[in-house]
Structures are given as structure tokens and as C-alpha cells.
């Protein structure tokens, strides 16, 4: 049969159309809710482990959109997500107070740590008081990498500098570097620059490019990282899957969910402490 250009084109179009239209539809008849959460939550790997448990039990899939805390809250305010799971109490409280969410529940907490170069130019290894550690870093003008993206982690970090009485952003571009990106990218930058940074333990444990960085400061109460889960208000956005969303929140804060969180390990280490009341 003659390989005419026209015939080939027609055949290609038919194959293409068939392929596209018979592809498994992504959002089929399945039940699902959309959850806005943070990159650090996703990067810890917790969600990949516990969400399938929830789906198996209830048949509801949880579609996670993992972005920075600011963006996650924006998505929830716009009604583009049904459930919000973030770790910045002030923002969470404001969210509910402004009527975007119907009540906040505690879920779990993990902690932040300061990681830095193993030769530790600021001499902070083993310290517990995080504000003193930050002061020493500023003193020797050791490289400190910040997320600089208005995320929960970033807000936490800013709060700590303020507590320590140091104007770190004034040195932005000098020893204080703002990457404007997620935890992973910031850790990559810290590894490359051999600098200090504040990171949540979860992302750190799962991070695969640690280079010469080590955990240097941990344990301070002020760098605990509590998570809250909020159902987006159906009064604000009528299309919100309130029932399914509530089912999820109930499961997450139930014995089953809390136990699943407690059982979660990264490299053999427990990462989150469940604290739903």
C-alpha cells in the first residue's frame, strides 16, 4: 500500500484521538477530596503512608496539592481545596476567625532543627537554646540560608530572629541568604553553600542530599512544629465536599489515624507526635 502522506496523517490522528479519549479518566466516578498542604508535609513521606489507609477504609481518595503554607492557605480561602493541613497556628486561627474554615483540630507535631556544616564555624553544636544559637551565627556572620517564601517554616524562622533581637533580613544577600523556595530547594542550597538553615525534622530525615550538613541544634520548646487540620467552610463555598472532608478529619484525629501517625518512621526514626484532643 502506498505510503501517502495524507493517509499517514489521517491514521496518526485516529490513533491519537483513540489514545486520548480512551485513557483512564483521572477524575472518574471515584470519591475524592482535595487537601491543600505544605511541601514539608509531603516531603516527609507521612501522607504517602497514611492516606492510602484512609482510602482503603472509606473509599475516599485524598488528592494532595502540596505548596508553600501561604499558597496552601490561599487555595483554601479560594475554595480550591476542601481541607487545609498546615503548621502555622497564627495563620490557622486567622483562617477560622475570618470565616473561611469551620473549626481547627490539633493533629500532630514534629520539630524544627538547625542543621549546619559539620565543622560548625559558629560553634553551636549541642546547644538547645535556639535564640542563642542564632545569635552566635549572626555574630560570626556564618552563612545562613532562609526559605524566604512566607511559608510556615519561614514565619517560624523570622519569629526566632525577632526573639533573639537580630535583624537578619538586613543582611540579606550577605551572610543571610533567602532562596524564596521550598524546604528541599533551600536544603539543596545550604548543602551547596555549606551553610546553616532551619528545617523541619521530617524533610531533613527524608532529604537525600545532606552533603556535609548535620543536625546541630534541637530540643528547644520554641521550635516545636504543631500541625492543624481545618475543614473549609461550606458556607463560604457551597461546592465544598464537607461530608467527605469531615470524614477525613474525624479519621485523622481518631485512634486509628493518630496511631498511624505515631507508627510512621523515617530511616527508623519516629517523626511525628500525634496530639489530637
Amino acid at each position: 500500500m502506498k505510503l501517502s502522506g495524507f493517509r499517514v496523517l489521517a491514521a496518526a490522528m485516529i490513533v491519537l484521538a483513540t489514545g486520548i479519549f480512551t485513557a483512564p479518566p483521572a477524575s472518574g466516578a471515584e470519591d475524592y477530596i482535595t487537601m491543600a498542604s505544605t511541601t514539608s508535609t509531603r516531603d516527609s513521606g507521612l501522607l504517602d503512608t497514611i492516606l492510602p489507609m484512609f482510602e482503603e477504609k472509606t473509599g475516599i481518595a485524598v488528592r494532595v496539592v502540596a505548596v508553600g503554607t501561604g499558597q496552601a492557605i490561599r487555595l483554601a480561602k479560594n475554595g480550591d481545596a476542601d481541607v487545609l493541613l498546615v503548621h502555622h497556628r497564627p495563620s490557622e486561627d486567622a483562617f477560622v476567625a475570618d470565616g473561611y474554615g469551620t473549626g481547627r483540630r490539633d493533629v500532630m507535631f514534629n520539630d524544627f532543627v538547625i542543621v549546619g556544616p559539620k565543622d560548625d564555624p559558629a560553634r553551636i553544636r549541642g546547644m538547645v537554646e535556639v535564640t542563642r544559637a542564632l545569635a552566635k551565627i549572626a555574630d560570626v556572620k556564618a552563612t545562613f540560608v532562609s526559605r524566604g517564601d512566607d511559608s510556615g517554616t519561614h514565619k517560624k524562622e523570622r519569629g526566632l530572629w525577632k526573639l533573639a533581637g537580630i535583624d537578619a533580613t538586613g543582611a540579606s544577600g550577605g551572610w543571610y541568604r533567602e532562596t524564596g523556595s521550598g524546604m528541599g530547594a533551600t536544603l539543596n542550597a545550604a548543602a551547596a553553600m555549606n551553610g546553616y538553615t532551619l528545617t523541619d525534622r521530617g524533610t531533613w530525615l527524608a532529604f537525600n542530599n545532606k552533603a556535609d550538613l548535620k543536625i546541630l541544634v534541637e530540643g528547644d520548646e520554641r521550635i516545636l512544629n504543631p500541625y492543624g487540620v481545618i475543614l473549609v467552610s461550606q458556607k463560604r463555598h457551597a461546592h465544598i465536599k464537607a461530608a467527605a472532608g469531615q470524614t477525613f478529619i474525624d479519621w485523622l484525629t481518631s485512634t486509628d489515624g493518630q496511631q498511624a501517625i505515631a507508627n510512621f518512621r523515617v530511616n527508623g526514626e519516629k517523626l511525628f507526635v500525634p496530639n489530637a484532643k
Partner: protein, 234 residues
């Protein structure tokens, strides 16, 4: 160098084992980009051809605009489409956010100018050669357009491949409007971005190699197809 060799072996292992997740991501990447390039061609090619062949007020500004839009930043397109499709946006009721459809829409907006601008140039150049003869033979403007598009199909196929390349390589738009949701809207580029952010650079690079091999495969297939059918129509 270590990362490169690890990346290479990772890529090979994933491919050989027919890793399910990988296949799913590759499949979605292809579906989204191919669909987008098909729609962009249907819109962009006649638009480019018409701009080349018809005279109308604002034609020259349109040409400049199309050329400029070739440089649309994907992340900006993603942002704009998000604002349109968000529940708070004008098209929110459609509920298209975080679906492959949203990704296709964003990519169509991104690559239609490329296809339109490039095919305009191809058609305009061909018109210099063909114009008088076609008009002498009595072809209507519409018929001229069809004849030139078909006769120039080899040059035009390159513009389609350029559009496909742009679509399959971009991450900014599909990340924002798709949300990189596992098993739903995760494509090769967003998966690579994810692995980078997790610090798994070797895996990210391996996925990148697979993505580039895919592109090579598709362009190779297009080339062979062109050669095979060019027999009678040099």
C-alpha cells in the same frame, strides 16, 4: 560525576522493570502534551496562515504580538489560568482546577502562539513563491491557504514539533494548574521538580534522561515518517 552514573543506572532500572508509577507519569505527560499540541495546531496553524495571506487592519501589530507571545513565561500562564479556573475565578464553576484538562488548557495557551507565529512565517515565505501562480490558476484565498498548508507540511511539521517540545518540557504552568497530585496530575517535569526538592538528585536526573529519550523517540518517529512519505512529494 557520581550523580550522573547513578542517574543513568536508575533510569535504566526504572525503564527495564516497567515501573508502574513511571509508566503512569509518562502516559499522562504524553496525553497532556500531545492533546495540547493537537489543539494548538488546529487553532494556531490556520491563524498563522490567515495572518500571512490576508490583509486586514492591525495585521502588522498582530505579527509582532504573536512573535512576542512565543516567549510567554510558563509560570505566568499557569498563574493566569489558575486565576481563571479557581473557584473564586470566572470559570470556577467548571471545577477544572487540578485536573489534566487544566494542564492541557494552560499548555494550549502556551504553545498556540509558537505554532501561529512560525507557521505564519513558513506560509508567508511560500506565498512569495506560489502566490502568483495559484492566483493565476484561479484558486480562492481559502483554497490557497489549504494548498500551501498541505504543500508546506514538512516545514510545518517542524513547527508542530517545536510546539510539542515546549509543551513537554515546561513545568511552571502544569505545576500551578495541575497541583502535581500523585496519580492524578503528576507528569514527568513536575515529578522531576519534586525529586529535586526532596534532594533525590540522581532520581531526578534519571527521570530527566527518560524525558529526553522520549522526546528523541518522538522526533525520530516524526523524521522517519517524513522520509517515508516524502517519496512522492519531494
Amino acid at each position: 560525576m557520581n550523580d550522573f552514573s547513578t542517574a543513568f543506572s536508575t533510569a535504566l532500572t526504572l525503564l527495564m522493570s516497567g515501573d508502574e508509577d513511571l509508566m503512569e507519569i509518562v502516559g499522562l505527560s504524553l496525553r497532556v502534551s500531545l492533546f495540547a499540541v493537537a489543539i494548538a495546531t488546529i487553532i494556531g496553524m490556520p491563524l498563522g496562515a490567515a495572518t500571512a495571506l490576508y490583509k486586514f487592519p492591525g495585521r502588522k501589530p498582530l505579527i509582532v504580538l504573536l512573535n512576542a507571545l512565543m516567549g510567554l513565561p510558563p509560570v505566568v500562564v499557569g498563574l493566569i489560568v489558575y486565576l481563571m479556573l479557581s473557584r473564586m475565578g470566572p470559570l470556577g464553576v467548571l471545577g477544572l482546577l487540578f485536573t489534566p484538562t487544566a494542564m492541557v488548557i494552560a499548555q494550549v495557551i502556551l504553545i498556540t502562539p509558537i505554532i501561529a507565529a512560525l507557521s505564519r512565517q513558513v506560509v508567508e515565505d511560500m506565498w512569495h513563491e506560489y502566490g502568483e501562480q495559484l492566483r493565476s490558476l484561479g484558486a480562492s484565498p481559502l483554497r490557497c491557504m489549504a494548498t500551501i498548508l498541505w504543500d508546506g507540511r514538512y516545514s510545518l511539521s517542524t513547527t508542530v514539533l517545536a510546539g510539542f517540545g515546549r509543551a513537554s518540557a515546561e513545568v511552571g504552568a502544569v505545576m500551578i494548574v495541575g497541583g502535581n497530585i500523585d496519580h492524578v496530575t503528576r507528569v514527568m517535569t513536575t515529578a522531576i521538580a519534586l525529586e529535586v526538592s526532596k534532594g533525590d538528585l540522581a532520581l531526578a536526573l534519571g527521570l530527566g534522561m527518560i524525558l529526553m529519550s522520549l522526546s528523541l523517540l518522538i522526533n525520530g518517529a516524526a523524521f522517519v515518517l517524513n522520509e517515508a512519505t516524502a517519496e512522492k512529494s519531494r
